[in-house]
């Protein structure tokens, strides 16, 4: 107890001695903890919101859905359900809408509603009573973006296929407003009883049929869903409950938040490195005092405890401060992420996130400072009398190994915890460790090179500035690491975003089609072609599309395959692949977006038909080259054998297919056609779309540049959120820099005083400081730039499977900004070095 009290008292005195440096180190911990608490607290809020609003998202207790009109057997089940539950139906599909009064047209997502949907939550409208009025006439409620796109207003008539609807309101809020769902077009709601009037449910239309049920109290939706899954498996009905939706949403959202949290964790780890570096210098600076304490009878353990307690107090203060800051910061996140979220998130205090943040912050500080602080035990009391005769030997003992192991394990476990997966966590931890090691190694190598080969003809001021990077107890490697890591994060994010957006914008390149017309019926083809021809527009296609479903795989019927899955109780990921409607094509040539990865594209054997499957779909279905699939093509069975597997570049906005048949197999099957064209001028494109919508209401036209814009907005939004978190690392980097300057303050002031005594002017001192920090910034940015190029190339190549280009000018701009920031912080924190009178400083010696 005596020992602990002594250590505590001494630690308090040490902390009191250098308040500015302590405040800075507390700050480096606090920034990382704040980012972590903000994101984790937000994730907790998000999960609470999902739990509270999950019913509102589904709008019911249970939903059955299918891509086909419900079979008689399914309708019988629905009928029996209607006796105990309240039902509503929604039929959804995409179609062209326009307002006769104005120009323009838009592809919209139509939802035809029947019954009291939603049973839970509500669809907010403007005016408020619009939703209630929807069923009372030929009405439509639209997304506000459709009004602005069509230059329309409430009260206008909206043309949808053959029918006309009066616009009675706009949608202000629904629980299911997910980011990606409406990328293809704004949604509109119409009453289901006027659906047939539109004439849009003809052949080839992609329609989703859904039944929603509100169950009586006491009925278990999960049990009912499990029964229906088994019972309706052969009908390819998808059964969802609130719990399913909640689980899926939580999975997706937790992953998004987990990755953002990982970026926050990097800021915290960087803070840990800053603390560790300060501890190295502190031990060196305090070695005489430590030796005196040992002389006076303090044991090595007690002396070590003084500094460990000091680190602990700093870590705790930083963590508590960070947790409070995180709560404030958390309020910004919903605004930043709202467009990506399906639920409204109200920020509230999450004790779990705060406690976790404080715990992690304290632990990281202790673990990172442990390694340098272990050196305290090695300081000999003899040092109080004189410098040691023998040079210090590098020491490694059991505790050193334990500290190193704790450091590695902590980084790994924190990363795994944040990402929620051992495999990915290990990859990320290895990536972080690798990046830090490369930065550290490169920093050491480059500074050594500079030291040995600093050009002799350079001016003294530059040579002195560079020499300062090697001053005893320098923190050059740490600074390059801290600044470099932040620069690396920002540069990698920029490069990835640039390449993703470039890939999207390639679609809008000068020669590429930018308008897709689909659902063209065979008897409409020549008329549509005429329209294009008369306007002098290029025609790509037609590409035939034949809807079909899987009937059996290798002799096993789809119902037995689906029943096998449903017996496992939950939805299986391959369920969609078995149940879905395939929109296949037939052709003999391979498209530029495809590459055969297994088997042969053409086969000499004519029977059964040799088809080509997209490789990931084949994996999902568990089939390979040589396996047999029988298709149900509009009620006709068609046997096929898998002849080849293909890799498809889905990112290119071109008609791509999961399944491609050879010519000759499907020509007589019912089919619709797709045509592509290019109209450069947006106004001309709008007019052309409107003409097609008026003449061929069933033909949908998709403006790829609008789609591209929506995707760019989404990519931009995700990138903004990630960059927001990455800026915390930059903040920590700057704090580590300022803390390092504060740590070496007296040494630098003494050097400055000495130089001024020898005749250096203030401007010469400023030039030396400029040289020192400019080289630090350049080294950090250069190493970070090279690492970022490697990392983003690997991401582009292996994760996003895109080509890679380097935007040299913006990248160089980022590098320059980092250098300028480093120099500015260096100069601003060196005023004392230049301003203090030399005599005053030398007297203090």
């Amino acid at each position: 107890m005596t020992g602990f009290l002594f250590a505590l008292r001494m630690a308090a005195r040490e902390l009191r001695a250098a308040p500015r440096r302590m405040a800075l180190l507390v700050g480096t911990v606090a920034v990382g903890v704040a980012a972590l608490v903000a994101i984790n607290s937000f994730t907790d809020n998000l999960q609470e919101s999902v739990q509270q609003q999950a019913r509102g998202i589904l709008g019911a207790d249970l939903a059955l859905s299918s891509r086909q009109p419900f079979s008689r057997r399914t309708e019988a089940v629905v009928d029996s359900l209607s006796r105990r539950a309240e039902l509503a139906r929604i039929t959804s599909f995409a179609a062209m809408a326009y307002v006769p009064r104005t120009a323009g047209t838009r592809l919209v997502q139509v939802a035809a509603v029947e019954g009291g949907y939603p049973f839970y939550g509500q669809i907010g409208t403007e005016p408020r009573e619009a939703w209630r009025r929807l069923q009372t006439g030929r009405h439509v409620i639209v997304d506000p973006s459709l009004l602005s796109a069509l230059d329309a207003r409430i009260g206008d008539t909206l043309a949808l296929g053959e029918a006309r609807f009066g616009i009675i309101g706009t949608i202000t809020a629904t629980a299911s407003e997910a980011g990606f769902r409406f990328a293809l077009g704004p949604r509109i709601y119409i009453p289901a009883r006027h659906l047939q009037d539109t004439g849009l449910l003809g052949f080839g239309a992609r329609v989703q049929y859904e039944v929603f049920a509100r169950l009586p109290p006491g009925t278990s939706a999960q049990q009912l869903a499990a029964r229906y899954r088994q019972q309706l498996a052969p009908e390819r009905i998808r059964v969802r409950t609130v719990a399913d939706d909640q689980r899926n949403l939580n999975q997706v959202l937790s992953r998004l938040a987990g990755y953002l949290g990982l970026v926050a964790l990097m800021a915290l780890l960087l803070g840990g490195i800053g603390v560790a570096s300060a501890a190295v210098v502190l031990v060196r600076q305090r070695s005489d005092s430590i030796a005196v304490l040992r002389c006076l009878g303090a044991t090595s353990r007690r002396t070590f405890a003084v500094y460990l307690i000091e680190a602990g107090v700093m870590g705790l203060a930083g963590s508590v401060l960070g947790a409070l800051g995180g709560l404030a910061l958390q309020r910004l996140l919903p605004g930043l992420l709202a467009p990506l979220l399906p639920v409204t998130v109200t920020p509230s205090l999450s004790w779990r996130a705060m406690a976790l943040g404080v715990g992690i912050g304290l632990w990281v500080t202790l673990v990172f400072s442990l390694l340098p602080l272990l050196g305290v035990r090695r300081i000999s009391p003899l040092q109080a009398l004189r410098r040691p005769y023998q040079p210090e030997q590098p020491w490694r003992d059991l505790w050193w190994g334990v500290a190193l192991l704790a450091l590695g394990t902590t980084t790994l476990l924190l990363t795994v915890h944040q990402v929620g997966s051992w495999k990915q966590g290990t990859i990320f931890a290895a990536g972080i460790a690798g990046t830090l090691l490369v930065l550290w190694g490169a920093a050491g190598f480059l500074t050594r090179m500079l030291r040995r080969r600093a050009p002799g003809q350079w001016s003294y001021l530059w040579r002195q500035g560079l020499a300062n990077l090697h001053r005893p107890a320098n923190q050059t490697a740490t600074l390059i690491l801290a600044i470099g890591f932040a620069a690396f994060l920002l540069a990698t994010l920029y490069l990835v975003q640039h390449n993703l957006l470039r890939q999207l914008s390639e679609t809008g390149g000068p020669a590429r089609p930018n308008l897709v017309m689909f659902d063209i019926q065979a008897d409409q083809l020549s008329a549509v072609r005429d329209q294009l021809g008369r306007a002098g527009l290029p025609i790509v296609g037609p590409t035939p599309i034949v809807p079909m479903r899987i009937q059996s795989i290798n002799g096993r019927s789809i119902s037995s395959l689906l029943t096998r899955d449903s017996l496992r109780g939950e939805e299986r990921s391959s369920g969609w692949a078995l149940r879905r409607e395939y929109r296949s094509t037939y052709r003999d040539s391979i498209a530029p977006t495809e590459r055969v990865t297994a088997g042969r594209w053409r086969s000499p054997e004519p029977s059964p038909v040799r088809i080509s499957l997209e490789q990931e779909l084949a994996q999902e279905l568990g089939v390979g080259v040589g396996d047999e699939i029988v298709w149900d093509v509009q009620g006709v069975s068609l046997a096929s054998r898998i002849g080849s597997l293909r890799q498809v570049d889905w990112a290119r906005f071109e008609p791509n297919f999961f399944v491609v048949f050879p010519s000759g197999a499907l020509e007589r099957a019912p089919q619709s056609l797709v045509l592509l064209t290019r109209i450069a001028n947006p106004a001309d494109r709008g007019r052309f779309q409107r003409r097609i919508a008026e003449r061929f209401p069933n033909v949908s036209t998709l403006d790829l540049s609008l789609l591209q814009e929506s995707l760019e907005r989404l990519v931009g939004r995700v990138a903004l959120a990630v960059r927001f978190m990455a800026f915390f690392s930059l903040g920590v980097g700057i704090l580590v820099l300022i803390a390092a300057l504060a740590t070496s303050r007296f040494q630098r002031i003494r050097e400055g005083a000495l130089l001024r005594t020898l005749g250096a002017t203030r401007s010469q001192l400023y030039q030396i400081i400029l040289a020192e920090y400019a080289s630090l910034g350049v080294l950090a940015s250069a190493v970070a730039g090279v690492l970022a190029l490697g990392a983003s190339w690997a991401l582009a190549r292996f994760v996003f499977e895109s080509t890679f280009t380097v935007p040299l000018i913006p990248l160089a701009g980022l590098g320059l900004a980092i250098v300028a920031l480093t120099v500015a912080v260096g100069l601003a924190n060196s005023r004392d070095v230049v301003r203090r009178a030399p005599l005053e400083v030398l007297r203090e010696e």
Binding site: L293, G297, A298, L385
Partner: protein, 227 residues
Amino acid sequence: MSDVMLQCHSLTRAYRSGQREITVLKDITFSLPTGEFLAILGPSGSGKTTLLGLLAGLDRPTSGTVHLDGQELGGLSEDERARLRADKIGFVFQSFQLIPTLTAQENVQVPLELRGESGGASRARELLGRVGLSGREHHYPAQLSGGEQQRVALARGFSIRPKLLFADEPTGNLDAVTGSTIIELMVDLNRALGTTLVLVTHDLDLAARAHRTIRLADGRVVSDTAG
């Protein structure tokens, strides 16, 4: 309490410097009765400080033994020797060696706190008063002159009423007048508290104040004279 406070036998200390082995102390043997004032005299590099380090248990000899108050230091671990120092030994250094982050009073308190003694603050104030630093208790070392700092160091050295005080060139960084005041204080305290005193110096006048003088040259004892 043992009659002999300090006893060393065949004490040798050698260091390795690159490929060479340098013997700094060779075969030193002497004993020091309790309450005596010993001066170890010798020019720079004669091994005085190395001897002091070995006698105080700050370093281990290459060969030979040291007994302090009847206890053999060679058999003690690093931490056991630290505890022994906390109990029995005081130090005064040439460059004062005050802890810069502590006030004068706190510097004096540290040895008492290490022993877990209560009332450290009042004892520290009393000692500071005795060395003439009343009113300067809350000053940091950087705010004190060299002489004042050495007085604080002296107060710290005597704070635990040590059986044995080691002083390494205590006047080496001070002018003659201040140095002489410090020595007076040290001798007074030695007398008042009955402390055994070991003073390392190269100053003949200072050594003349001691009861006994051991002269070192080139790591060996060249003379051992009383008075």
